[in-house]
Structure formats: structure tokens, C-alpha cells
Amino acid sequence: RVFASAGYSIFDLTEYPSLIKGGHNTYHVRISADPIYSHVMPTDVLVALDRQTVGRHVGELTEAGAVIYDPDDFEPDESDLKGRTDICLVPVPLNQIVQDAGGIKIMRNVTALGAVLGHMEFPIEGLLEAIKSQFAHKKPEVAEQNITVATKGYEHAQQAHCDFPFKLEPLQGQPERVLADGNESIGLGAMAAGLGLYCAYPMTPSSSLLHFMASNGDANGVVVKHTEDEIAAMNMIIGGAFGGARSMCATAGGGFSLMVEAFGFAGVSESAVVVGVFTRPGPATGMPTWTEQSDLRFVLHAAQGEFPRVVLAPGDHTEGFELAWKAFNLADQLQTPVIILGDSYLSDNRQTSDPYDLAAVTVDRGSLVTEGDAASHGEALDSEGHYQRYKLTENGVSTRILPGVVGANQLVNSYEHDEYGWGQEGEDARVRIDQNEKRLRKLDLARTLVPPPGRYGPSEAEVSIVCFGTTKMPAREAMKWLEADGVAVNLLQTVCVWPFPADDVSAFLDSAKRSLIIESNATGQLEGLIAEQCLRTFDENLRRYDGRPISPELIYSKIKEMLGQPVELNDIGAVAVREGGL
């Protein structure tokens, strides 16, 4: 939080393999005074906890960039530095410092962050503040230990004898900014919406959202349950919705696989629930701590049978907050499940944003009756005054009267059912058709309620980009650079990917000079969806599927290449462009 509170923009991408200890951990600390939309591969200060890290990332270091390392771990040599001589080596006895403070290994991180500041001669107070607030709810020793090691790291780094090209002064008179990772932004949005029940089984990258809920639940009256598995989590939130609580669960693609059956149950039972699906590279256990956008088609078609669903894909942290609270309104208005589709790149990364617009949050529960007597809601009753939970209506939404209300007898049913919810009558051809069409009709209503695509850049452009979700961030960063080069690029981001904004995308593509689609998967899932929904194709596509997020450089160079102005890129991990869908 340190830079943020000082008014700077910061974006920090933490890559951590799924090991508590070992493996290589990297921080890309990058600092600038103008807004940053994403991390960029080039790094000004590299904290290397082991030798590999240097080798793997030296190529990303900017001219005269610095490497902070612990001489007790290793001493970077020529080969590590790939022959670069411009780099400033900043030895800091991270382990020693932690040991002396009697801390645990993980605290090397804080020590290193202190060292980063020291190296940049940036005042340390901000960091110390951040530490205090972060560990407020822990034993005081914890905060103290962290403060000690951060300070030690700070002091050591200052002694490094090479000159850091850009020194930083705290900016004056800048607005306070929020620093949060994607899970915190989504959690905050859900809380603001009046969440009543959160159920989850830990799974990277969704676990930190469970932790956020667990630590804030009691104070905010939210029931937070770490369940026995994801199946229970999904089935529980349907039970919570039955009782009227705003209910949510979140997981990664693998956990969602176990939720699929109950997700369909939410559809046929017309339950208002919100499900977070945060993608990591698959298939199966895959690469737990890396990122990908490979669950788009999966969430669009998950579960047997057919029913309406809404899928929202936040492009950044601010959208994470907004779409989270909006998701609850949509779920209630449509009485159907709503998915928030994110990924590790969103979940894990701390990023500063302008303060979220708390005042804009609204609570719309659709046609919901929470108290009193069903008798006073004639529109929901049959001729004998019996409540019909699934009464046929024009827009497909029926009045939802909660249990506890007198006369609200009903049957929320996983079977096909009639207007009362009885399963036996659901086998009648006419009843089945009516209920099936009633549910599917809600998708037309959804089209009028969901957020429109995001549009960036000029209407006239050399290259028109389409993307969904987190690739928005590197795309906007690249557009900034291209603008500086005098290249006009515009972007359409499908914020709501289901129901799909086919008309917007078609129009955008029809007016495009050159079209490019960007997505972090191997098979071109959004590209295929657009082919299906718009009967349109792209001139070029950029896909990445090595677990690393698409970087602005990749987009920048791809577009330069499209314009016949190829640029050099240092090794930034492989990128493959495949033709056609799979």
C-alpha cells in the first residue's frame, strides 16, 4: 500500500509456484506517476530470492535496473546476468535480517520491499503504516517483527553503491488511492451489496477471497462457511437463496467442475446466486498459481439441460468491485445464477485504483417478498389463493415469496415442475414447454439489464482490438504506448460475455480497418464465440497459454507487426498464434 498512499500508481504482479517454500518468487515493482493499467514485463527493481530468478528475469530488467538479493543465498555471476553490465547489484542479507528478528522465512518479502524503498531512497513511513494496518488483527509482535525487518532491509539497501536512475519523492496534493488485489475488490463489492452467506472451499486463486470474507464476516453479519467441498458450497448457497440471503460462492475452474450439477439446479430452481469462477491454467490441477482465460466456454455451457445464466468478466479491479455488487442485483432481478469470471491475474495482483464509488452501490432485489402474508400478493396466487412460486409471466420472472411469510408454501425443485413447483406435473408436455420457455425468456430481460461492452480509444483506428476480462489491462497499457507512437488503436471489451453483446461486436468489427482479438488461451474461445454469435472473423489473433498474463509488450509488438513495423522483444516467454478454433 505504501506507494499508493503516497499518491503513486503501483501494479505488482506476484508469481509464486504452488510451493510454500522453494521455487522462484518474483516481484515486478514498477513505479510511475501516471496511471498504470497493467504490470509490464520490464522491471526496474528485481527482488531475487534465488539464482534462477535472476537468470529467468534479467532480460526483463530496464536499463540500469537493480537486483536485490541475499549474498548468503547466492552471488549473481556473469551467466546469471546474461552478460549485462548496466545492472545495479544490491546485496541485502534478507535471511539474516529475518533470523535476527526471530521471524519466519516468508518475512523475507517484507524485508525485500523495505530494501526496494531504501534503494530508491523513498521514505519508508508509508510502508511502516501499511504494515501496521495489515497486521492490525494479529498479535502486536507480528507487526513489530515486520517493521524491524523492513527497516533493516531499507537501511542495507541504501548502502548499495550505484545510482538509481529515477529517484522518487512523495507526490503532494494527490487523492488517496485504493490498493487492493482483485479478490479484495470483488469481496468488497459483494459486502457492499448486502451479502448474507459466503461458502467456499479453498482453491488457488480464490482462497484469499475466503480469507477476506472470514476475517470480515462476523463484523458484517455475513455467515462465512469453509465447506467440506465445492459441491456443498454451491448447494449451500442455493439453500441460502431459498431463505432469502444474498448468497455467493467462489472457486477456481476445478472447483467449479464440482459445482456444475448444482449450478444447473440453481437454473431450474430459479435461485438467485452469485458464483465466482477464477481461472488458473488447466486442465485438471494444471498450474495452480498461474493465470489463463481458458474457462470461458466451460462456464457458458456448464451443466446438463438449458437455462439462462449471466456471465460477467471484470477487466480490472474497479470493475471487480462494480460487477460484484451488480451481480447480486442481476441475480435477484432475474432469479437465476450469475457468474463472475475472473482469473489469477485479477485475483492475485495488488493494484491502485481511484477510490471505488461506494455511493453508486444500489440494492435491487427484484420481485421479492420477505414478510407479511402471501394473500396480499394476488399476482402470485392461483384462483384458490395458493402461492405459485413458478407462475408463468411475460418476462419469465415470478414473484418470489420467502419461507416464513404466511401462506408461502412452495416447492423449490430440482425436477422439472409446474407453477407450484410440483414435480409430477412437470412431466406433462405442455407444462414442460411453458416452464422451459419461461426460464429461457429471462435471457431477453437480461439483455436489457447487463452492463454494456467497454469501449476505449478513438472511433477511427488503425487497429481494432476485442478482448474480455483481464486482458483489458495490458491492452490499455499498450494503447498508451502506441498512442505515443502516433498509432490510433481502439478496444472493445465484452464486460458481460453472456448474454453476448453480438450487435455491438458486429458493428465494431464492421467498422474496423484491421481487427485483432486477444485472449489468454490456446483455442481461441472468445474468437469462436464471436464466430457463432456474429458470424464474423478476425484478421489476427494473439493468444498466450503458458500461464503468464499477456503483457503490453506482446500486444504492442503484435500491432506494430500488423502495421508492418516489427519491433525487437527480449525473451518474454513463448506466444503462439494458432489459426482456427479447436
Binding site: V223, G239, T362
Partner: protein, 289 residues
């Protein structure tokens, strides 16, 4: 105050004539009438199976869950609706088979609810396959050579996880069953009642007569329902020869074990003093978080 017939929906039960589900249906209605529970004060949850088809026959606040998944939504409902009672009906395949994980973990929570298992030792709705409680070596369409597993011992499993109320009933003894229901419904904490519910169509071994020849009531003995270890020992009567002689396998019914006063899961929660929907009357101020 509703009468038993007022709990009937407009749909006539479609169970086979003589099905053990009829007795359970009737006994529960009578228990509710005696307790004077109003329809808007409790919700019922069912899994999928013949027992679950009962959902169509009840006019209550009902929730017909997925196969094997009645307990999780019931738990969530109870935790977010502290103003409501919760009754769960599940099948032996449903609750002890596919739903075994939820069964064990729900017991660990001691949430205040009543869980009624329709144990016909067979899969009824899917036409007669072996169930987890089918006796060892029982022949069914899915196990023509006989079941090779030992049956599930629901009582023993519940005791191993410190369940606070564990009982067994027999749908052939309506009065006794009704009494068990009343005790379970008024117990504070998780109450399990495993009910022998003969399937007259697919289980030709564990018939009404089979049970009549074997059941005896614990209350009519010197049984001490506070001794968990002896209760566990007694639960081992679940294991016996297929179609054993009446004297070789006695079948105890009644309350195996009970413990009053243990805090429930809800007691430990700060967030459940009022219904969850009251959290969403307006946007929550999160500026403090």
C-alpha cells in the same frame, strides 16, 4: 393449528401399495400436529429417490434438492434463517451413498436440524440396485453375484463423530416412530433417525415381516442412551448374515444415544441472530473494511 390432512398436497401419493414410505409420511404428519408447528415455521428438504417423491405429497415450505445433496442446502438455510426449524428427508442411497461426505461433515457441525433417513436397503426409484445399506451378499440388478461390501453403519458412523441424537425407527410401528420424531424435532442439535422402510417391490429380503420378527424397542429394555461406547457396540448389529434367522439377528429400534446441552454450530456464529435477508435491505457501508 393444522391437522394431518392439511399437510397433504393435492397430489395423491404414487408409492406402491404397502410401501414403507406411507407409514413414515403419516407418522411425521402426526408428530408435527402434536407439536403444533405452523407451516410457515419450518422447511423440509428432500434428496432424490422414492422418499424424495414425497416432496410432491407435502404442502409445506419445501425444497427438493439434488440426489445426495439435501443436507448442505438445509444447513445453509438453518444458518441464515435462525427463525426456522429444518427437517431433512433422505434415502439410504441418497444420504449414505452419494451423500456420505455431507452426512459425516454435517454431523460434525451439530447444526440444529432433524435428519430422517428412509432406509429401504435398496435403490427404489432406479428400480432395485444395491444401496450402501444392502446387506453383504444381497443380489440385485447391479450386483447379481451379491454385494461384496459391508453395509454402511449409520449409527456407528454418527457416534464416531459425536452426534448428539442417534435413533432408529421402523415404519411398521407408527406410534413408536411418531414418538421418535417428536423427540428428534425437539432435540437441540443434529438429530439422526434411521428408519427401516421396507420396499415391497425391490427388497424381497428385508420385508415388513422380516423386521416384525426381529425388531425390539430399546425403551423396553434397561438401555442407557447416554453410553456412547455401548451404543457403538449395539450399532454393530447392523452387520449380520444375509437373511439371518430371527434369533441370530435382533434389530434394536429407539434412541441409541442422546446428549443434551452441547452447543450447536449456530451458537458459535455471531452472524445468525436474524434472517440473512435482513442484511440486504440497503447497501452496506464498507468504507471501514
Amino acid at each position: 393449528m393444522p391437522q394431518t390432512k392439511e399437510f397433504n398436497s393435492t397430489i395423491r401419493p404414487t408409492w406402491c401399495p404397502g410401501c414403507g414410505n406411507f407409514g413414515m409420511f403419516e407418522a411425521l404428519k402426526r408428530a408435527l400436529v402434536e407439536l403444533g408447528w405452523q407451516k410457515h415455521e419450518f422447511a423440509m428438504f428432500w434428496g432424490i429417490g422414492q422418499h424424495g417423491n414425497g416432496a410432491d405429497f407435502w404442502d409445506v415450505q419445501g425444497f427438493h434438492a439434488l440426489h445426495g445433496r439435501a443436507l448442505p442446502p438445509a444447513t445453509a438455510y438453518r444458518l441464515t434463517r435462525p427463525d426456522q426449524h429444518v427437517i431433512v428427508e433422505m434415502g439410504d442411497g441418497d444420504g449414505y451413498g452419494l451423500g456420505m461426505g455431507h452426512f459425516i461433515h454435517t454431523i460434525r457441525r451439530n447444526v440444529d436440524m432433524t435428519c430422517i433417513a428412509h432406509n429401504n436397503q435398496v435403490y427404489g426409484l432406479t428400480t432395485g440396485q444395491a444401496s450402501p445399506t444392502s446387506d453383504h451378499l444381497m443380489r440385485t440388478v447391479s450386483t447379481p453375484a451379491g454385494v461384496l461390501e459391508e453395509p454402511v453403519n449409520p449409527v456407528g458412523l454418527a457416534l464416531a463423530e459425536k452426534a448428539t441424537f442417534v435413533a432408529r425407527g421402523f415404519s411398521g410401528d407408527l406410534e413408536h416412530l411418531k414418538q421418535l420424531y417428536i423427540e428428534a424435532l425437539t432435540h437441540k442439535g443434529f438429530a439422526l433417525i434411521d428408519v427401516f422402510q421396507p420396499c415391497v417391490t425391490f427388497n424381497k429380503i428385508n420385508t415388513f415381516q422380516w423386521f416384525r420378527d426381529r425388531v425390539y424397542k430399546l425403551e423396553e429394555t434397561d438401555w442407557d442412551p447416554t453410553d456412547r461406547i455401548r451404543a457403538f457396540e449395539l450399532s454393530m448389529s447392523t452387520f449380520h448374515e444375509l437373511d439371518c434367522m430371527a434369533d441370530d439377528c435382533r434389530v434394536p429400534i429407539g434412541v441409541f444415544y442422546r446428549e443434551e446441552g452441547r452447543p450447536t454450530y449456530e451458537d458459535g456464529l455471531k452472524a445468525t441472530q436474524t434472517p440473512g435477508w435482513q442484511r440486504a435491505l440497503e447497501p452496506r457501508d464498507v468504507s471501514g473494511i
